[in-house]
């Protein structure tokens, strides 16, 4: 019992805390049993909550990055399963704890897990009757806004020359192509080799590039430090500006719906894309690809495999791959491919320039590489544009590896890496697409041709935008709506615009239920809420506590049905829904509240003896007890107080009737704020207690 004394409890706290710390240190991975065990320790030692919280926070900050996530899971498990007082203690330092862990991890999956974790903290504990979020909004919101700010900051960093490897907060590791760039030494032997061939075609360029003596534009581009690339022509800047504007749009969307994973994914993709573009401005078709991808992303791609946005992909990117022409070395210089140029209206230089670069040496090493049986690096499983970032990195990695493997013939290797994609026409378009922009950019012609390319691209873009570009849709929706009078004659003629109004004009489809949304901002916001709703519903349904024991509600009576405003719960925000339902509802006792006295988070209703917990009211900016009223100087449930008042006014039989009617009314008050499973019981108890109180008073 000594441990119970004030001194003892102190030492007890440190004992338990150090035990807790030891167990924490053993936690190396996401081990459910260990986490549950730690949660139980925390549950049984709530009197030492402060010490345990401190230990946990310190551990999360101090431990190795790989162990931070399991430790965060411990934190999560404790706050969700034990709740107060841990939420209070851990909530205080949550910002630094979380941000520190987030910042020290640059593994995307871990970050995603953390994002998800943060997401759940904004919501009530699944299955709990407590409707309050795990952490109060004022704890979680700073973290969210910091994450958004940080992502914006990261984006701005991307716009600056990336001469130094980034430190600190980054969403992914340094793009591998950098290593490749710096790893390529301008080997003299190689230059000679290239001079032999390259000078035949581009002698004028030889003079201009004294630094590396790179005779071919490709070599120059590949080996040039990124700084020079950044001073590339303006048209690349146009693309970059497009990307930036897309990013800012996505960020707005992200800010509006921070839990929409799709927006997050898109954002991170486009950030990756931007980084890649910054690092290596694409040319020619690859630039076009980037444009298309940006346009497609802007159009609000369907989240899952979506082959439609880039229907030209295979053509586009097989076109610049001159593989067939490369086969006969004797045929230099090669004519450019007229078919591609015609179909895409690209200026001849864009096509013809890369070809003369080719040398027999390059070809032979290319063939050697291919003969080595290296597999295509494009990840075939990545089927769609969303995989763009990682796929391109992999691709570039491969390029880089090839370069490292054969440094004396790196151009050839680059070509090989590039050609690999082109030489495997079996790959479907979506597979091939991700790898195009960057690998192609490696071998692309000098930047000077990009201007004309971009112009030709712009002439192509409008037709491409028919695949669901949002820009003209609102106009279409209004303009194309046919006016059809009530007449038998009007029924027969097929009106494709009606089909369009149901499908194409709402291109933003939910992959879960097929619901469609407009491609404007409102539609996107609706879809974000809708996906959120799917997520919440699935989470709640997957929870074993809520999955069982559901029952059908009673039907509503006429008055309630008449007053009911139907809304779609899947696209309506909670606020709007509550506003809709409460607008017509009179202020009942359950809407009453009492401001919580300082430091009081729990209270026992003096009438029904059930526990009451304070909650944070956004409206009042204060902690309150909801459904509460002062009764005899104590805080009690407002509903209980009302029952007491009612019953003390009535005769005994009247009280019984009131209790009964209360119980029946409870069934119809399903959607009230009060947890319904407790409602009926509380009603009955309230009435009984009321009778008791009346007797006491009498």
């Amino acid at each position: 019992m000594a441990a119970r004394s004030p001194r003892g409890s102190l030492s007890g706290a440190s004992d338990i805390a150090s035990d807790f710390e030891d167990s924490l240190k053993d936690l190396q991975r996401n081990d459910r049993f260990a986490i549950e065990n730690l949660t139980n320790i925390a549950r049984e030692s709530t009197e030492h909550a402060q010490a345990i919280s401190r230990v946990l926070e310190n551990h999360i900050k101090a431990t190795a990055p790989t162990r931070k996530l399991p430790a965060l899971y411990v934190l999560d498990s404790i706050v969700k399963n034990v709740g107060t007082p841990y939420t209070v203690y851990l909530g205080r330092g949550l910002y630094s704890t979380f941000m520190e862990s987030y910042g020290s991890n640059n593994d995307p999956t871990t970050r995603r897990a953390m994002d998800n974790l943060l997401k759940t903290w904004k919501e009530p504990v699944p299955g709990s009757m407590d409707h309050r979020p795990v952490f109060p909004p004022d704890v979680v919101r700073p973290i969210e806004s910091a994450l958004i700010r940080w992502k914006t900051g990261m984006l701005q960093k991307q716009n600056q020359p990336q001469l130094q490897p980034q430190g600190g907060y980054r969403s992914t590791a340094t793009p591998p192509q950098y290593n490749g760039q710096y790893a390529v030494p301008p080997v003299p032997v190689q230059q000679n080799a290239y001079n032999a061939f390259g000078s035949q075609q581009t002698p004028q360029q030889l003079a201009g590039h004294a630094v590396y003596h790179t005779p071919t534009p490709m070599q120059q581009h590949y080996a040039a430090p990124p700084t020079s690339v950044l001073h590339a022509p303006i048209d690349v800047q146009v693309v970059k500006a497009d990307i930036s504007s897309l990013i800012s749009r996505l960020q707005t969307q992200f800010a509006a719906a921070p839990y929409d994973t799709q927006v997050q994914t898109k954002l991170s993709q486009i950030l990756d894309l931007q980084r890649a573009v910054d690092a290596k401005p694409p040319f020619g078709d690859s630039l076009r690809q980037v444009r298309d991808i940006v346009a497609a992303l802007a159009a609000g791609l369907p989240p899952l495999p979506a082959p439609t946005p880039q229907p030209h992909a295979p053509v586009q990117w097989q076109a610049p791959t001159p593989t067939p022409q490369w086969q006969p070395p004797a045929s230099f210089p090669l004519p450019y491919q007229p078919q591609t140029a015609a179909s895409y209206m690209q200026p001849p230089p864009a096509q013809s320039q890369p070809l003369p670069i080719l040398t027999p040496g390059a070809l032979s090493s290319l063939q050697a590489l291919l003969a080595n049986g290296q597999k295509p690096s494009t990840p075939q499983m990545r089927t769609a544009v969303p995989a763009l970032s990682s796929a391109s990195h992999t691709q570039l990695n491969n390029v880089q590896n090839n370069v490292a493997a054969a440094p004396t013939a790196n151009t050839a290797d680059l070509l090989a890496a590039l050609a690999k994609s082109g030489m495997f026409p079996i790959m479907s378009a979506p597979n091939a697409t991700p790898s195009v922009p960057f690998s192609a950019s490696v071998a692309a012609p000098p930047a000077s041709s990009t201007a004309s390319l971009l112009q030709s691209l712009q002439s192509i873009l409008p037709p491409a935008s028919q695949n669901g570009t949002p820009t003209m849709i609102p106009a279409q929706l209004v303009a194309s709506k046919p006016r059809i009078p009530f007449s038998a004659a009007a029924l027969k003629q097929f009106r494709p615009e009606l089909v369009r109004s149901l499908y194409d004009e709402q291109p933003n489809q939910c992959s879960n239920c097929g619901r469609r949304f407009l491609a404007n901002d409102e539609g996107r916001a609706k879809k974000a809420r809708h996906l959120d709703w799917h997520f919440r519903t699935n989470q709640r349904m997957a929870d074993p506590n809520t999955g069982r024991g559901q029952h059908r509600s009673w039907f509503v009576d006429e008055m309630e049905w008449i007053r009911l405003t139907e809304f779609d719960p899947s696209t309506t925000t909670a606020d709007a829904a509550i506003a809709a339902t409460t607008a017509k509802k009179q202020k009942g006792p359950q809407d009453q509240y009492v401001r919580a006295p300082a430091g009081v988070t729990r209270n026992t209703c003096s009438i029904c003896q059930e526990e009451m917990r304070s909650s944070y009211s956004e409206e009042l900016q204060d902690w309150v007890f909801m459904n509460a009223a002062m009764y005899n100087g104590k805080i009690a449930h407002a509903t209980c107080v009302e029952e007491i008042k009612k019953s003390s006014l009535q005769s005994a039989s009247g009280a019984m009737a009131a209790a009964l009617s209360g119980a029946y009314a409870g069934g119809r008050r399903q959607r009230s704020e009060t947890p319904d499973s407790a409602l009926g019981k509380r009603k009955a108890e309230g009435a009984l207690a009321g009778a008791g109180a009346r007797i006491k008073m009498g």
Binding site: F486, S487, L491, L498, S511, R552, F555, L564, P569, G680
Partner: protein
Amino acid sequence: MALPGLSLPGLGLQPSATPVYGGAAPPPVEQIARREDLPPQSEWRFEAAFGQQYNIRLLSGQAELFGVELAPKQTYNLSGCKGAIFTWQGCQLEITGDAESEYSAKETEYAVEWLNLHGMLETARDEAQPDGGPRVLVVGPDHAGKSSLVRSVAAWAVKAGRTPTVVNLDPREGMLAPPGSLTAAAVASQLDVENGYGIPPISGPTVTPIQTPLIYSYPYASSSEKPAVYKALLTRMALSVTNKLEEDATAKQSGIIIDTPGSLNDPKSNYDILNHIVSEFNINLILSIGSEKLLNDLTRRFSMGKAPGESVPVLRISRPGGTVERDAVYMKQLRMSQLRQYFFGNAKEPLNPHSHSINFGELGIYRAKSSSDASNTSTGFGADDDDYTPNFGTTGSDGDFEKVTPSAAMTGSLIAIKFCPASSDGDAVRDSAVMGFLYVAEVDEARKKMRFLAPHPQRWGDRALVWGSWPEVVADLLT
């Protein structure tokens, strides 16, 4: 044939029931997924029996079932459904399981008409007068595609952002409720491929969209059985619906779509009930499917020779080529399944019904007299005549409802809980909306106790219960 939710024991899916459909459904040995490519504007018609696994997945393209678009790559369980998956743009489907019949069809002119009808209604909604949007009555014989039309048009309207009020007046097939009920619901959420309008509210989270219906009980199979009761309910329902539309501008602009049973197509009564509906709901468009005679009669009555302000346009809508007769066995299974779903939920949202055992003295049960009672030829339900209180119905209810003491004859039947108190008079009992339905599990006449299966854990209190002869007794809901 393990089919969650429907494979519960006692659904009445005796193996003997299935061969009625031509016996062409051998037990599925292996479930091989097969693919069907549908060209634009064609459809895949299928009749899947209850208890037969029948899944469809949209692989590519776009397709819809009764106007509800299928999500790509999602598997839909369409067991017990007779329908057609239509594609405007062409699609590829993957089909698993066996159906009694399935084929692709290109005679789909009806779909163009239906879609144009949607366009018409949209025009009417855009140009809605102060008295509201289009109020459409769909009439025609049974199995002509009325319900499919109503569902498609409602689904498209919701997709266009409207909130149409859908009214079902067919007591043989419930909408959002067991059979024997008439339903009105303002549909705001997108319809569901598998569950149509969705499900009525439950206590927990749902994947299926929730609709909150207003339910009236009409415990007879046909409108012609008790036309007076039917008309009184129509009046009451029209009042509620009109009131609701006054409260909600969006719903008012979106209008009403009314589905009717084929029994309204009754020249003998001079289309008495149809007239009643048209005037009560202030109908401004009548659609006639599949009956030239009805079309002519209605045109003569409502459209021709009337002043422009009074005439109601009557349009003929093509009957889909794929409509099939839903025979008695299938309809019985459908009702059974609706009843079961009311208490037990569906596969995605299983529910726990609750058992209540109540003394006879606490119950106020009314029997909805069948039409045969009037001629005193009733045999099955006449046992309670000694409790008949002729003075009970004070205002012209002429004894459509009589108060009865519980009897063993009630076992297995469905009882409607009305919102009105148990001591209400006959008209109130008749007109009151339904709070819920009870299934009579057991009547212990010796101990004077009745055991109910109720959807809700709480008792319903002092409310009138109505026991009718429809839907038919289900002996084994609980076993």
